[in-house]
């Protein structure tokens, strides 16, 4: 061990970071509102610049290994840096998925070359990574995907389509899961590829949601050629890579990733409706029926927080199995349903027209259009109920017609 390998003490690191941040990073504007997802093109340019600054200052990739461009420090160092960085502008948009999902997956499962190339480029602020997983025909059944990669000499040729790729419009590289063996059962014929998002043959377009958000993209692959070394992990063992990726995604969503730097994702989600505000704005706060609805919704929110604490502690202490997390996911959806339903009930006849599209009525009624968003994103509530009944209560598994049969024999719809 050489002298340079002595790890800097967390507090020393913190002080050094504090000084550096003050000298180098722009202060946060307290009034600045992050742009809505999809309306953030300029923000991405700025993000790359901020990451380059961090890298130049020696504060990028704190928990990533040195050999791939990181600092090789501990989560405690990262936490100290995040604390210190709070008053400053930070490249938060890189936290998810680049640093917390894609880079750790490459770190776990990628080739030496992939780690050296992609992770270090991300840490330098040169590249942004995303995921090409879901497919238009897929829904809850990720492993049933049909985008195929066929071997052609030394290269692979990819055809098919992906969808719901968060922020793919801003990215350089993507982890793309494709089917490479249709004779194997569904999970066993998949391979993960690391491909440039601007490769020839990829046609990307942004998906507009009913609330106007365009953060998601869909991609169509028409004979996209990638080299053999684009494979991440082993050929036909892509499910192992995807599983790792899903693990990192859950960790990131749960707030437990050591690879994020600074607080948050840098994205503004639509603000939820505030029922008390709505009741007052529409002059209904004296109506006892309305007061019941506001009180009920408040109770639901409080119970949600309490439930999250109980289940998180339960899982952490081992009293509850991991799949108990689905309880929180399902409850979150219930809370949203109640909120959106009560919002339109309370707003009543005033809730569907307004001065303009920034009016309270516009906000709450557009939220109502997105009511199911919270029961679809991150696994549908139907999947959560399957998980709770099967994996917590031990009830028989739902019959899967595609289990243990060659994928090409599996029936498919549209």
């Amino acid at each position: 061990m050489t002298v340079t390998d002595v790890i800097e003490d967390v507090e020393a690191f913190r002080l050094r970071a504090r000084a550096w941040l003050a000298d180098n990073m722009p202060k946060l504007d307290p009034d600045a509102v992050p742009p809505a997802p999809g309306d953030d093109d300029e923000e991405w340019v700025k993000t790359r610049e901020l990451q380059k600054k961090l890298y130049a200052g020696g504060f990028a990739g704190i928990c990533f290994p040195k050999e791939y461009g990181g600092l090789g420090l501990s989560p405690a160092h990262q936490e100290a840096f995040s604390q210190e960085s709070e008053p400053y502008q930070m490249p938060l948009l890189l936290n998810v998925p680049t640093f917390s999902i894609c880079a750790p997956t490459i770190l776990d499962m990628g080739s030496e070359q992939q780690k050296r190339d992609r992770i270090s480029a991300a840490i330098r602020g040169d590249e942004i990574l995303v995921q090409f997983l879901s497919e238009p025909s897929g829904g809850s059944d990720l492993a049933g995907l049909i985008t195929r990669a066929e071997k052609d000499g030394d290269t692979w040729v990819i055809n098919g389509a992906k969808t719901w790729s968060t922020c793919a419009y801003a990215a350089d590289w993507a982890l793309c899961l494709a089917r490479t063996d249709s004779d194997a059962p569904k999970h066993r014929g998949l391979t993960m590829f690391l491909i440039p998002t601007k490769a020839e043959g990829i046609d990307m377009r942004r998906i507009t949601q009913v609330n106007g958000s365009t953060e998601f993209c869909e991609e169509f692959f028409d004979n996209v050629v990638v080299p053999a070394d684009a494979v991440v992990g082993e050929v036909n063992d892509g499910w192992a890579v995807a599983s790792r990726q899903l693990f990192h995604e859950r960790t990131a969503v749960g707030g437990g990733s050591p690879y994020v730097s600074g607080r948050g994702t840098g994205r503004l989600s639509t603000p939820p409706s505030d029922l008390a505000e709505i009741a007052r704005a529409f002059g209904r706060n004296e109506d006892e029926a309305v007061r019941e609805l506001v009180g009920e919704s408040r109770a639901q929110h409080v119970v949600q927080d309490q439930l999250i604490r109980r289940v998180s502690q339960g899982i952490e202490s081992g009293v509850m199995p991991g799949p108990a997390a689905s309880i929180m996911r399902l409850f979150h959806a219930e809370t949203q349903w109640m909120l959106d339903d009560h919002a339109i009930t309370i707003a009543g006849s005033g809730g569907v027209t307004g001065k303009d599209n920034q009016s309270l009525a516009a906000q709450l009624s557009v939220n109502y259009l997105m009511r199911q968003g919270s029961s679809l994103g991150g696994g549908s509530t139907e999947m959560s109920r399957n998980i709770i009944s099967e994996r917590l209560l031990g009830m028989p598994r739902e019959y899967a017609a595609d289990r243990d049969v060659p994928f090409r024999e599996v029936k498919r719809g549209r």
Binding site: S134, S137, G139, S140, D141, G144, T163, W164, I207, T208, Q209, V210, N211, G212, F282, G283, R284, A289, I344, T345, A347, G348, S349, G350, G351, V352, T353, G354, K355, D356, N357, S359, A361, A362, S365, V366, Y368, L369, M370, R371, Q372, G373, S375, L376, G377, S380, T381, E382, E398, Y399, A400, A401, D402, R403, V405, V410, K411, R412, G413, R414
Partner: protein, 376 residues
């Protein structure tokens, strides 16, 4: 659809459907907000030629219905409109015609306005809601003050459907004698129309200010101070059309969502094979049949001027509007992420159902009204 239509009514329904399918395929609704107007007057004139504006109007005033049951015929048109989320003036013009025809027995002569509306040449709408207030047509803050041979109107109305295109406003106002309705030209001095935002892409609403607007006594609809029965009739017609329109939309949404459940596979099985989803489809099917049942009977009751018509429209509105949004939301869920995209038609129906839910009394308002009828 009502199960008891006459052959004439069925033919009429299918003519209306072909016309709308050709001129107003549902997908075009997305472009309406960017159009100069929500709909084209020439197109509306063609609708009038098909009879859309004639159903509530007696033959001597230039109208006439398909079956002799104008309200039910009109409900058929509304259902077809709902099926494609059609734009147009059906609801506002029908409401105003209902009031004018009702008042035609006594009061000023509005024959020429009626004829213009039936011909599709005039557009009229009801200015009844007021800023910050819910459904309370019996207590308008807008006032009409007699001044010699004229009345002077002052007040603000909002949520006025088609306020930007209307030629005439049917204004509900307070007078010392009681609530009174006036027919006010949109170009009268003192009238200011300001567009509002709305959730429904196919309709437009506006705030309409009346500042010292002077109208002749002949602008009164019916008798001064005696608007209450007119308002009730207008409301009943509005509700019949709303619930019929919602039913049309529901049938369409349910049909394409059921088809989706058959076509879409997950884990090697169609969605339609999953019992948890099957049971939700069963519930939806039941609720939609119930919506159709109560819509049909509301139309019949208003047609027949039954004693229970006032209650039955409230029953229908309270039931249909509640279940419609619930059903459409579950259909969104059945579609997965696709269901919340701009590209999918679902939100067009959801927008309209949500707006219909809110106006002319919410389900909650109508439940309270039913309790009133029960003398609770």
């Amino acid at each position: 659809m009502d199960l008891a239509l006459t052959p004439d009514q069925k033919t009429f329904a299918s003519t209306t459907r072909s016309f709308l399918d050709k001129n107003n395929p549902v997908g075009t609704v997305r472009d309406l907000p960017d159009a100069p107007e929500a709909f084209d007057r020439t197109w509306w004139g063609k609708g009038a030629e098909l009879g859309w504006t004639a159903m509530l109007v007696p033959e001597e005033l230039g109208g006439g219905s398909v079956s002799g049951e104008g309200v039910r015929d009109l409900a058929i048109i509304a259902e077809e409109h709902g099926r494609v989320v059609a734009p147009g003036a059906l609801l506002p013009v029908s409401i105003v015609l209902a009031g004018l025809v009702e008042a035609a027995r006594d009061g000023s002569d509005h024959t020429s306005e009626i004829e213009g509306l039936v011909a599709g040449e005039l557009l009229a709408t009801w200015a009844v809601y007021e800023p910050g207030a819910g459904w309370a047509p019996g207590a308008p803050a807008t006032t009409a003050r007699a001044e010699g041979d004229t009345f002077v109107l002052d007040g603000i109305k909002d949520r006025v459907e088609m306020g930007d295109q209307a030629d005439l406003f049917l204004v509900t106002a307070s007078t010392p004698e009681g609530v009174t309705q006036f027919l006010v030209p949109s170009d009268a001095p003192g009238v200011t129309v300001t567009p509002e935002w709305t959730l429904d892409l196919s309709r437009r609403f506006a705030e309409v200010r009346f500042e010292g607007v002077n109208v002749l006594a002949s602008a009164v609809v019916g008798q001064v101070g005696e608007a209450t029965p007119l308002i009730e009739r207008q409301l009943q017609v509005a509700l019949v059309l709303q619930v019929a329109e919602i039913c049309g939309g529901l049938e369409q949404v349910f049909a394409f969502t059921t088809q989706w459940a058959f076509d879409r596979y997950s884990f090697g099985r169609p969605l339609a094979s999953y019992q948890a989803l099957k049971h939700r489809f069963a519930d939806m099917k039941m609720w939609i049949e119930a919506c159709q049942a109560t819509s049909g009977e509301a139309a019949r009751a208003v047609q027949d001027r039954s004693d229970d018509a006032a209650e039955l429209v409230s029953v229908a509105k309270s039931y249909v509007a509640s279940y419609a949004v619930k059903i459409i939301q579950d259909c969104v869920q059945m579609h997965g992420g696709l269901g919340v995209t701009w590209e999918h038609d679902l939100h067009l129906y959801l927008r309209r159902a949500t707006v219909d839910r809110a106006l002319y009394g919410t389900p909650e308002d109508h439940r309270r009204r039913i309790a009133d009828f029960m003398k609770l």
